[in-house]
Symmetry: D2
Subunit: 402 residues, 4 copies
């Protein structure tokens, strides 16, 4: 029989964490005995648990401890984290510690270091007395990699923090909800964040343009609610197509009718920008006079256009090297207070992977599966709103204009 | 070789009818020869075709002629329709003519009679020199039933009628459309119909309430844009729940939070109406003071609540006898100029079955499959809008208030 | 300050019940103090809690107690339930107790009575020393109705019961799952239930026929895996259409092509059954020779066809009086061990309302929203499988034939 | 009044082309007069039309002619195409001709040249007496670009070609179809193409792995039905994760349960391949012993993994430079006879953009919107099948093994 004693504290019950702790132990074919348990007697008090985990094999025990770690359980005996050198570039020892999006500290030389650049699916390197989350591909031979489970503490977000506000909205994802209510709450948070000079990053797919959200997204940009826009080639192409020719995907946005040679307009838009040399140049030369891209340039809002395999063109600004695109996305997400994802599963999941779990994240899509998927992939903090994205942006801009 | 010569005229090309004519002949393992064809030389001119259909078996020919009939092709030789007596109640001869939703005339004693109460999946009875569409279940033993294919003319709707307006909207069903554009067009039609004292029937599911559309639907009722409301038990229950307790399905519509004992509120709503005796009584007694049902009662707008197998309660007004419910639906759809279906596949398909093809029909749902399904079931005239129904009603009421 | 002390025991943590208890108290604007808490030290041991609930108003306290009751919390002081007479037919006092689908006992004259016919959204009547769940519409003036919160105990299902089996499957609803795995588990349960002479009820929409599931559902019927079939008019019509003409909704199931005059086949099917007088008569007369309906008749499996507002026909067996249909559904669901719902939101929710929470329920649909909705409506025990229902029935029949 | 006379011939009616011709003229605010029309008298005969298009402005006429060109209408007077030099790299004159996916010929020095590398959204360059479709980004300064509408002929696919076979399947996209029927037809075509040593390219998303399709896709590879596999990083990662650890996205595929530390397995898989140096190396070293990637390596089937903004890792083979990825995709699609797209909107649309319209394309997804979208984007030849992709591949492999 192999066993180890672990402890945890926090709002263990409010956040279903205790349930998950027991589930994991059973799933790892182990048993538990609760040695001590102090329940938070009131809503403000935290709970504390001390329990012994017992397994028939060393392997099962290791598995259980590894998973329990992610829920905030740590061995009672404190040790430094194990460090092993990366054997070659982009390659680490097999027992490397793979990060979640939760705040993590690592014990090094008796000190608890908070990992910087927290994100999921990274490794942790110790470098110059600092703990850093690093993507596997950025690991260099010889980097000091945190391995095993010792000397690591993970602090899951406790739902309790703003019980009746943001967290509660996340209960159910359904198209049968009153979106006006959510719009009001989100607008309120945005106002608050803007007031405190915080950062609100928008992530958006081209559907915002097709559904007529363009002018409302522009309003948000102009009113200072957008700190950065993360998107792809298609949003920019269709926005510029719309600004130049009044169409999106060849459909006249004003009348809803497909128009003559409309299929060609997006290629004409790309060609026009190529001629000017870049989007800012086209704005400067007076060729591009309106639209989301125009307004970003005018308001000096950074926009990052990540390339994709289905892109036409691409526009000069589109980053077809995805390593570069991911790095730019990550850079602009740093210190974000809120991220609003509009109708783009691809870019939303990309951003979800990069964000720490304490960043307020809203995901709007007409397809409930997109919204569910983001949560399933680990971005459990994301609030899903199932609605028409064009009308959503319309309502949001109107609410913020009041 | 069996063959017959048929003719057709109209906007055969604009409406893809010619394509379908040829498709059917091939599908019936037959061949065709075009004997004469006059193309409409301009947009206003109709086309005319005379073609011979040739089959190896009498059965194939009969099949082809039966299907061609529905596209407006008729034998050149005019004969009276065959009439046979219904052998018993709700039972007709095997070769009965089954109606479509298109305008149909029947030749009887040398006269072409226009069938009344046109709808799909009915039989045609000749009674007192009149042709009447009758549901199978309403057929009585001895009724004179139109059988075979002779002496019948079907006039499919030609898309051309308002080319650039209503018809064009129906091109594609997609969530990637600008709903504001559609809302404007629909509002315009509604204004026109109201001005001409025409009839606009709303068909609605409970999602309108859950998504916060209640007050906007009420606005439409109060401003005279709703001639009748066809729905089910659930819409009324959740509307009354909302009016009495501020919740819908136990969720507080103002704050979006599930509330204490909310699961019980819909039962309390039913109980309250049961105590008053009926919805109008509850209005009269000052118990029910707001909401869609209240406003229907106040504005004297008829509402029909059809029962369903999943109903709780039901409310006193809910028709749990579906034969009665279908008859009431059909009665209130008579002479409708426009039907707007909001988020209810069940009631929308029911209504689609009852409507002639010349009634403007709009179907709004967040699920594109619902919208597609209505078309697939024969209501090809229905325009589908894929969006959030709560926001749609909000925009529509706002547009009509301008 | 108003306060009351309540207690609960069971697998409070495994089933997230403790979390919900605290959530409710906060949501009711009350506070709590945990007076005693014994945690289940191992997976088999239950937990016990004693806590005081404190509110500023009597109303808030009542609300909190009402909701806590549904999670298994009861006052420490035991009293008889309050009984009040129904004031008229289908109308009960305002503070009536509205049931959940969980096992419930009521204290009457010092005795705890287990409510029979447990289902959600009913009231509890005490009659001849027995507690009975009764639908509101079946309440008669003077019936003795359980009111308030005292003397009632609710026993929520604890997920723990078969941890690694059925319950675990329900974690996530997603189309990105391996359906073969679920099919194997379900087949295993079905074999077990059949062996123990238990009851497996199928609930099915017409999509099973359209997607080619007909012959596989027939196999299940013939092999004795179907105790009753609950459905609507459409399933029977399209099954008979397929048996008589090889089509479903006018599409040739063998070749996938829409066929000549196919639109009419479902009306011909109804007419044929009307002529025979009934489905069993059509089987007896050798007119109906195959299909799901035929095999039900041959195997003497009861089938209930509930009418709906969109029905054509209907067939002679279709119950157009929904009160009767609901009663028949409920009758055949009695003592079911497992219910399998195939592609019919309408009938699945109807059945979900009628079932106690301890009946294993599987809901299969290609639309994840249907599956989610059933859970949201209170049938939390339902396991959702998002897949093609035709292929699902195919795999299930194949697995059970092995 | 500006006017021009154009002609067209082919199966104009079967393919709705005539309808579209008239629609376009009206939409361009022009009128038409049919000067001559010869209808195809039988199914085999083509139709011919000569019509004059009349517009009030030169611009409208140009628009109409530009759009009519895409439907196969060409001016009666034959001229050489206008050539203009590209003004700089990736930038062409404003009136450049933008390609469709239909076969196109260009008149140059009195000769009609068939454009090579036909795809949509390209320009046509004349180089060394040859017409070549070239992506805008590949255009070099001074390239000879086809501009305007003269001297260009487009040959739309006529649906008629295999009326009762492939084309007919495309009628409706719905989840309410019998997938077994489609599987049989597709299997038949695949057998035929393999027999003729034709090329079948598979395009696949990771859902094939999550839904358990892995072993069936492997069977198809081993039996020689897959000429190339176009996918992304995720398919390979989850396939290798499954091969090494038995999980996909951390879910145990055999038992359907999420497993201990499963979230980390995909990172472990990437790390393992990074250590080996490449996928083929991992196969060679005996580390990777099964799965789709393994079987591709063993069978020497090329696989292209395009990077995306949401990728973890990536694997050494993943092309993070999308220009390179698109070029590789295009290379392997050359001369494909059939393309089967499994559950990946991103890669399917990418491939749709690259394919000429005469390549048989099948798109399988559980979400009908994905299937519809591919068609809407111009890949009208794509046949959509709405079903569970894991079960689909299972059925297809089984059918082909018979």
């Amino acid at each position: 029989m192999f066993s180890e004693t672990v402890q945890a504290e926090g709002h263990l019950i409010d956040s279903d964490i205790l349930t998950k702790i027991f589930d994991i132990i059973i799933a790892c074919e182990s048993t538990y005995e609760v040695l001590e348990f102090q329940i938070g007697k009131t809503n403000d008090e935290v709970s504390r648990i001390l329990l012994s985990v017992n397994s028939k094999s060393k392997e099962s025990l290791e598995q259980a401890l590894g998973d329990l770690l992610l829920l905030g359980c740590r061995p009672i005996e404190e040790n430094d984290a194990h460090l092993k050198p990366a054997e070659k570039n982009a390659c680490v020892p097999d027992d490397f510690y793979s990060t979640t999006n939760h705040r993590t500290t690592v014990r090094h030389q008796g000190q608890w270091l908070t990992a910087s650049a927290q994100r999921m699916d990274a490794v942790i390197c110790i470098e110059n007395g600092q703990a850093i989350c690093r993507k596997l591909r950025d690991v260099k031979k010889g980097d000091s990699i945190v391995c095993g489970h010792e000397g690591i503490r993970v602090m899951p977000e406790f739902k309790e923090r703003d019980r009746m506000g943001f967290a509660f909205m996340s209960n159910e994802i359904s198209s049968e909800r009153r979106v006006e209510t959510s719009v009001k709450k989100i607008a309120e948070m945005m106002r608050q964040i803007k007031k405190e000079k915080g950062k609100i990053v928008f992530v958006s797919g081209p559907v915002v343009i097709h559904t007529g959200g363009s002018i409302y997204l522009s309003q948000l940009i102009k009113s200072g609610y957008v700190s950065a826009l993360l998107s792809g080639n298609a949003l920019a192409v269709h926005d510029i197509e719309n600004a130049l020719f009044g169409t999106s995907l060849g459909v006249d946005l004003e009348h809803g009718l497909p128009i003559h040679e409309g299929h060609k307009n997006h290629m004409r838009a790309i060609n026009t920008i190529n001629r000017a040399g870049s989007i800012p140049e086209a704005v400067k030369q007076g060729i591009l006079k309106s639209g989301v891209m125009h307004d970003c340039v005018k308001a000096n809002i950074p926009f990052i256009l990540a390339g994709s395999i289905r892109d036409d063109g691409p526009l000069p600004e589109t980053l077809m090297d995805l390593v570069q695109a991911q790095d730019q996305y990550a850079k602009h997400l740093q210190d974000a207070h809120m991220v609003i994802c509009l109708s783009s599963m691809l870019h939303s999941i990309a951003v979800g992977n990069m964000l720490p779990s304490w960043v307020k994240t809203v995901c709007v899509d007409i397809n409930p599966a997109v919204v569910t998927k983001l949560s399933d992939r680990g971005s459990a903090q994301a609030i899903g709103i199932v609605t028409d994205v064009g009308l959503f942006v319309n309502m949001l801009a109107r609410e913020l204009a009041n």
